[in-house]
């Protein structure tokens, strides 16, 4: 209508809605990705051959030429492959530690209970309250079975506890006591009361400035020198307290990050509804903060699981400590590689499980809150 301009817009012709066009075929995609140029093709071939060589050599060493059963360690001496016989021979020591041989069914039962309840928890077959109550029961049963002295079970001192049950117990205790303590420290660090804030900051920064090993040595070796001899706290408990505080100091900062990510308006809206401090934290702020902190929190939780291996240095027989003991046997001392590969696989499986569980919690939360929030 007015003077000629270059801009224009075409009026739509009510085209029918249709599905998005399909991409190229799978073969074409592979070709585009791995053989696009001569350089890429060369790289694909070289890396492919190296991978194939690695896989073939490992299969030959680990499966074809391996010795699976050999109670005397004689066949292992001549075999060119792996000596998995060290595992079939020593698995009881590695998994159960130095626990009295005749009572090892108790340790085995504990492992079974933990694995079963962990799987049931991971698949969320029961409501949250029941899952948590279940874990409390698992803890109590574990302690009773390990320690004995009741229900006709013979007493076993903590110095004989070991293997996976000890690893589970130390890890579970660290997380179960550590997370509530971390939440209190994180809230304390944001407290309007200077004394509370100072104590929280001092704890967090103090502990973060010290290596875990120093915390554990202090708890197990130095601390008893200063305590009155009547106050005889078990070495395992002292080490565990160190683990809990160390975990809590790191997790507190992770949770504080989550707290900062929750908008101030959330707390204000809860105030406007007349909710008091602890109610606001419990029902409004912490559920959101912890959900935000889950990825980083699982980082700390997985690390807490791996940190249980420090107990080996303290002379407590967690899985790693027990493996060391098993491999001290002169007949098997040459097969450390196989022994530690087994332990590696065990830790890898458990940590991957934890990692997957963390991710599923994240997705759960995202499904609820972030969907349709464009």
């Amino acid at each position: 209508m007015s003077a000629a301009i270059g801009s224009y817009a075409t009026i739509g012709n009510d085209a029918p809605r249709r599905p998005a066009p399909h991409g190229a075929g799978r073969l074409a995609q592979l070709k585009a990705r791995y053989f696009a140029t001569p350089g890429t093709s060369l790289l694909t071939i070289v890396l492919g051959l190296m991978t194939a060589w690695a896989v073939v050599s490992f299969v030959r060493w680990g499966i074809i030429d391996a010795v699976w059963y050999d109670p005397t360690a004689e066949a292992c001496k001549t075999a060119s492959g792996a000596c998995w016989a060290v595992i079939t021979e020593k698995y009881r020591v590695i998994l159960l530690g130095t626990y009295p041989y005749d009572e090892q069914w108790r340790s085995a039962l504990i492992i079974a209970i933990w694995v079963v309840w962990a799987v049931l928890t991971a698949f969320r077959l029961f409501p949250l309250r029941m899952r948590l109550a279940g874990w409390l029961a698992v803890f109590v049963v574990t302690l009773v079975l390990m320690r004995g002295g009741v229900f006709g079970l013979s007493y076993v001192g903590t110095d004989a506890w070991g293997g996976l049950p000890l690893t589970f117990l130390v890890f579970g205790g660290t997380v179960a006591f550590g997370i509530p303590l971390a939440i209190l420290l994180a809230l304390g660090r944001r407290s309007p009361f200077p004394v509370v804030r100072f104590v929280s900051i001092a704890t967090i920064e103090g502990v973060r400035g010290i290596p875990l090993l120093v915390v554990l040595f202090f708890g197990t070796l130095i601390l008893p020198l200063f305590l009155p001899p009547q106050l005889d706290v078990d070495k395992l408990v002292r080490a565990e307290i160190g683990m809990v505080i160390f975990f809590a100091a790191y997790a507190a900062e992770v949770i504080r990050g989550g707290l900062q990510a929750v908008a101030d308006g959330q707390d204000e809206a809860a105030k406007a509804l007349g909710m008091g401090y602890w109610l606001r934290m419990r029902k409004i702020v912490l559920p959101q903060a912890v959900a935000i902190a889950i990825p980083a929190l699982f980082n700390d939780i997985i690390r807490a699981f791996k940190n249980t291996t420090y107990f080996a240095i303290l002379g407590l027989f967690d899985v790693l400590g027990a493996t060391k003991v098993a491999l001290d046997d002169p007949a098997w001392v040459r097969y450390g590689l196989e022994g530690y590969l087994f332990v590696f696989l065990l830790y890898f499986l458990i940590c991957s499980g934890l990692s997957l569980y963390g991710r599923s919690l994240e997705q759960d939360h995202a499904r609820r809150t972030r969907r349709a929030e464009q």
Partner: protein, 254 residues
């Protein structure tokens, strides 16, 4: 100057000589204001004039250094019980809704009464359904805030505040974060409330709403009340240059 709040018993909110500073910055200067039972005040003014700060003082989300706040006869005095009583009498609707994203719409409504007031859950749920009906969102009770449009969220927020049967509803720019096509549905709900006799203080730039609903329009600038007049007088005949200037600037959107 005597304060009418002291003599008149039917004031829902009375602010007397409120002064507030952010650091060295004096953001509220001698602000005095009273809201009569069942009446509506619209607070307007340029941004930074202190109107949001003022309305946040009414339910003690903001502290002020000098002055007296009285809500339904209760004077804010720093005791936790008084604070709780004042929060009980006031409902607040925020610009950004501030719904709890991890709770369903129904739980957003019931969490206040059930946990802060220990009301029986069944009674709270029944009341929540009634209020959702009133803001025309009965079919959204099971959804989460993230699944609702902005207008729907703000209507849920209004219903959430009404759960506590407040003596006064405070609206802090309730339509400023909304897409234009959603503003009217929220204003409709607010006008419905006004017709039912709810006492309200509303911070807003919606001058059409002010014209239809307000008993008193209060114009603020630089932390002071500059003008206070019934809407017909304020819009037809603003007394000060600052108010005239302000109305001229926003008239394109009103």
């Amino acid at each position: 100057m005597t304060n009418p709040a002291d003599t008149s018993a039917n004031l829902v909110v009375a602010l007397d000589k409120i002064n507030k500073w952010y650091g060295a910055h004096h953001v509220l200067r001698d602000v005095s204001l009273g809201l009569g039972e069942g009446e509506k005040i619209v607070l307007c003014g340029p941004s930074g004039s202190g109107k949001s700060t003022l309305i946040r003082c009414v339910n003690a989300l903001e502290r002020f250094q000098e002055g007296t706040l009285t809500v339904c006869g209760t004077v804010l005095d720093g005791k936790p019980a008084t604070l709780a009583e004042i929060r009980r009498r006031t409902g607040m609707v925020f610009q950004n809704f501030n719904l709890f994203p991890h709770l369903s719409v129904l739980d957003n409504l019931t969490i206040g009464p059930v946990y802060a007031r220990s009301e029986p859950e069944a009674a709270a749920i029944a009341r929540a359904r009634e209020l959702l009906e009133r803001v025309r969102l009965s079919d959204q009770a099971a959804k989460f805030p993230g699944q609702l449009s902005g207008g729907q969220r703000q209507r849920v927020a209004i219903a959430r505040s009404l759960m506590l049967k407040p003596a006064v509803m405070l609206f802090d720019e309730p339509t400023s974060a909304l897409d234009p096509e959603m503003i009217q549905e929220v204003l409709d709900v607010m006008e419905g409330l006004a017709r039912d006799g709810q006492s309200m203080i509303v911070v807003t730039h919606e001058m059409g709403f002010a014209r239809r609903v307000a008993d008193l329009v209060v114009f603020m600038d630089q932390g002071e009340i500059i003008e206070a007049a019934p809407p017909e007088d304020f819009f037809a005949n603003p007394a000060t240059d600052r108010a005239r200037d302000f109305l001229g600037k926003i008239s394109t959107t009103a």
